[in-house]
């Protein structure tokens, strides 16, 4: 498959450009739009609003929580592409129309731009966050 490698390289370029000049050039932003389509602008908006939090536990487990525009908190995994938002379930899982939802894209962009908020929690708290998602869907 081609697209994931392209997306990854684009995100790396963004990170590199930002590191060198604290600025993301226009052509990379347009590249985001080209690859990710309608998710690009909402994802950038989430980054602008510092909506992404990296949650880590002492053992090194990580997950991401993204504060959506509706005020709802979505959880994104770090070990695979997964998000608890409905758009992910529909566009990515069901229709395979998108690589990512806007929340996962926001996670990557926040990583690239150093815009992640950090939260350290205990093992128990992290487990609860993961289990809580299951309960909601169940």
């Amino acid at each position: 498959s081609t697209l994931p490698a392209v997306a990854e390289e684009l995100l790396r370029e963004i990170k590199k450009a930002f590191q060198e000049s604290s600025h993301v050039p226009d052509d990379l932003l347009l590249g985001l739009k080209f690859i990710f389509g309608p998710s690009a602008v909402p994802a950038l908006d989430l980054v602008d609003q510092r909506s992404v939090t990296r949650v880590r536990s002492p053992s090194g487990r990580i997950l991401y929580q993204v504060l959506g525009s509706s005020g709802k908190l979505y959880t994104c995994y770090s070990s695979c592409h997964f998000c608890t938002c409905p758009a992910f379930g529909f566009s990515v899982l069901q229709k395979s129309e998108s690589l990512l939802c806007k929340h996962i894209l926001a996670v990557y962009l926040s990583q690239a731009l150093g815009a992640c908020q950090e939260l350290a929690v205990s093992e128990e708290q992290l487990t609860n966050i993961l289990l809580a998602e299951e309960e909601d869907e169940g």
Partner: protein, 659 residues
């Protein structure tokens, strides 16, 4: 959308792009021929098509590229014959093109080329301005028939397990979280002497930015960065520079830094091989002793940082003090590495703009990973403080410039605002050096240096300043608006630093006695000067005398509770057996150097108790009768100027004793 944010920017760019696309398409249709501008057009022949998500991927053979060539240097790697490209089209463009294998597509700029890390085939993106070119009449007919039959295009399903790695570090660090090692027990800091690494630390990196970016990612704690320590200083802790004042400490000449533990943190200003700066806040110090030692041992040396936590990313506009120090270290004295290129490639120094942002790092509590190579020699990147004479500094153009100098401290004055606790008050130091003393005219002989409460003074300095006139090295003081001030990150040292670039002769030695400027029309308030004149009046109501403690100078002695004949000093907590008698008198002088002003001087004298008896006799007999004082010539007095007013034209001074 956030104003000025990335989303807003992309929106604007996208709108512009959409307009350009629709205009271009319209132009293609209306002209019914290909657009005239042929430069930068990529011509490809489609070999194979498949879909991934909504992007259509076309494996193509590049036919030619019309000039002017917009190639990057990587293009040289692609073989001239049959170069293969992966061209991506959005769903909309693909629907418009209706490409099939063997079709020839013209892709007009602006298109983008992306080179993937582990692949030879370059990827072409932003292909909005694409057009299918029909080569012959047969094709046109074929095109019409094809339009009726739907072509089946393979669709690749992308695995969710394929995540994106944004780091450039070795793959061995990209492990699943469950494989990650649990961090070891906290290390006790050992002033950098210990060379043991209980943590499995990764290879040493030389980029601070990489370390910052790897925060939170798997293996971030093990990332080590090698940096050069440019400056060592103390900062007051964020909670405020508090001390524990007890009871009613009298407000008099106590040592500036009292014995209570100050709340300060040892900090390093470090720079990496790419020129980026970072301020690293280390542990809180229980006492300010040893700052001088840290400076001597650590400045200029390389060190390895690991397990740092980002406290803040600050910018020039928000941290003027920090950036004035960074500016004094810019431009760098050796070529810097350029990110993204191999070590051997050309380095850059010329015309680099000074940094606009800086990360403030701190150590994880309990774990300190700052290993200083004290035995190693001074790094080439290190810029020692540039020492100048005070005369040169007074002539510096500009504001907020850091400067370093040696000076003799002549007099010390504590700010008298009673609402502020003693140890948070500004101190005014009057200093001079040979460059000021040896001038004839136009430049003051003595300069006032204001030491704010934010400048952390070590115990040694405090004691030295109380004891007597001392040569002090002011490192990284701030010059601006005609004043020298010592703020955060300024360090006062007693010993000459090992390395400093001095401009010219040794400025520390003063030949001959110190001279102050004489009182004249240019004298300002809060300065010191010398004056001479004739006594023209005495303010009798202000004349009085009082005993002071001979050990600490405390002027508020009390009667001893046990024996009411004796005096007690509650600062020293001891009986004062031989108090020093201070006498104070205000006299009005007529000074020829400033004849228009009324000059009022508070003069005072100290005499030991042994002479007290004799003097009392003299008092009653003669000397302080107003008549006998009038007309008396007062010799060169050293004074502190309290205030100068123009209406009425009056100068109020106080006689002082230089250190």
């Amino acid at each position: 959308l956030c104003r000025g944010g990335l989303a807003e920017r992309l929106c604007r760019l996208q709108n512009r792009e959409r307009s350009a696309i629709s205009f271009w398409r319209h132009q293609c249709i209306s002209d019914d021929k290909t657009p005239s501008d042929k430069s930068g057009v990529l011509i490809v022949k489609v070999l194979e098509i498949f879909e991934e998500c909504t992007i259509q991927v076309a494996i193509c053979q590049q036919l030619e590229l019309q000039s002017p060539v917009m190639l990057s240097h990587e293009d040289a790697v692609i073989s001239a014959e049959e170069p293969i490209l992966k061209v991506l089209f959005t769903r909309e463009t693909a629907a418009h093109l209706k490409s099939r294998p063997q079709d020839v597509i013209h892709i007009y700029p602006p298109w983008q080329k992306l080179l993937l890390q582990n692949a030879d085939v370059p990827v072409i993106m932003n292909t909005y301005f694409s057009q299918k070119v029909l080569l012959s009449e047969h094709s046109e007919a074929r095109e019409k028939t094809y339009g009726l039959t739907k072509m089946l295009i393979r669709k690749n399903i992308i695995s969710l397990a394929q995540t994106f790695r944004l780091d450039d570090l070795d793959d061995k660090l990209h492990q699943e979280p469950s494989d990650n090692q649990v961090a070891c027990a906290p290390q006790i800091p050992n002033k950098g002497d210990s060379k043991q690494h209980p943590l499995a630390l990764s290879a040493v990196n030389d980029s601070l930015l990489e370390m910052v970016e790897s925060q939170g990612a798997v293996g971030w704690r093990e990332v080590q960065v090698r940096v050069v320590i440019q400056r060592v200083y103390c900062l007051p802790a964020r909670e405020g520079y508090r001390s524990h004042t007890q009871g009613n400490k009298p407000l008099c000449a106590t040592p500036v830094t009292n014995s209570d533990p100050p709340n300060v943190r040892l900090c390093l200003l470090v720079q990496d091989a790419y020129g980026m700066f970072s301020e690293v806040q280390l542990q809180s110090l229980s006492s300010t002793d040893g700052i001088e030692l840290y400076c001597r041992r650590w400045e200029g040396k390389s060190c390895c940082l690991a397990g740092m936590k980002i406290l803040q990313r600050t910018t020039r506009g928000r941290a003027l003090g920090l950036f004035s120090l960074i500016d004094s270290l810019w431009p760098p004295v050796v070529p810097l590495k350029v990110p993204g290129q191999s070590q051997d490639s050309e380095m850059m120094t010329t015309n680099l703009p000074p940094p606009s942002f800086c990360y403030i790092l701190t150590v994880q509590s309990g774990e300190i990973h700052v290993e200083v190579d004290e035995e190693e020699q001074i790094s080439n990147l290190y810029q020692p403080p540039a020492v100048h004479g005070l005369k040169e500094i007074l002539q510096i153009d500009g504001c907020n410039k850091r400067c370093s100098f040696w000076a003799q401290v002549l007099y010390r004055r504590l700010q008298t605002k009673h609402s502020v606790p003693i140890d948070q008050r500004d101190i005014l130091l009057f200093v001079t050096d040979s460059t000021l003393q040896n001038v004839v005219h136009g430049i003051p002989r003595v300069v006032a240096v204001s030491v704010t409460a934010l400048c952390v003074l070590s115990m040694e300095i405090g004691e030295a300043l109380s004891a007597g006139s001392r040569l002090v090295f002011f490192k990284d003081a701030l010059w601006g608006n005609g004043r020298i001030i010592c703020v955060e990150r300024t360090v006062l040292l007693l010993q000459k630093p090992l390395l400093c670039s001095a401009a010219g002769a040794d400025l520390s030695e003063l030949t001959g006695p110190v001279r102050l400027d004489e009182l004249d029309s240019t004298t300002q308030a809060n300065s010191i000067c010398a004056l001479r004149g004739t006594v023209v009046g005495v303010n009798e109501s202000t004349a009085f005398s009082w005993p002071t403690c001979d050990r600490c100078g405390n002027g508020k002695l009390e009667l001893c509770p046990q024996d009411r004949e004796l005096l007690y000093c509650n600062q020293c907590s001891e009986v004062v057996t031989t108090p020093v008698l201070k006498m104070q008198l205000e006299v009005f002088l007529s000074c020829p150097s400033r004849s228009q002003s009324t000059v009022k001087v508070k003069v005072w004298h100290e005499i030991s108790v042994a002479l007290f008896v004799l003097f009392t006799m003299l008092l009653f007999l003669q000397t302080y009768e107003v008549q006998s004082v009038l007309g008396k010539e007062v010799g060169l007095l050293n004074c502190y100027v309290h205030s100068i007013t123009s209406h009425p034209n009056c100068v109020v001074l106080e006689e002082i004793v230089l250190l």
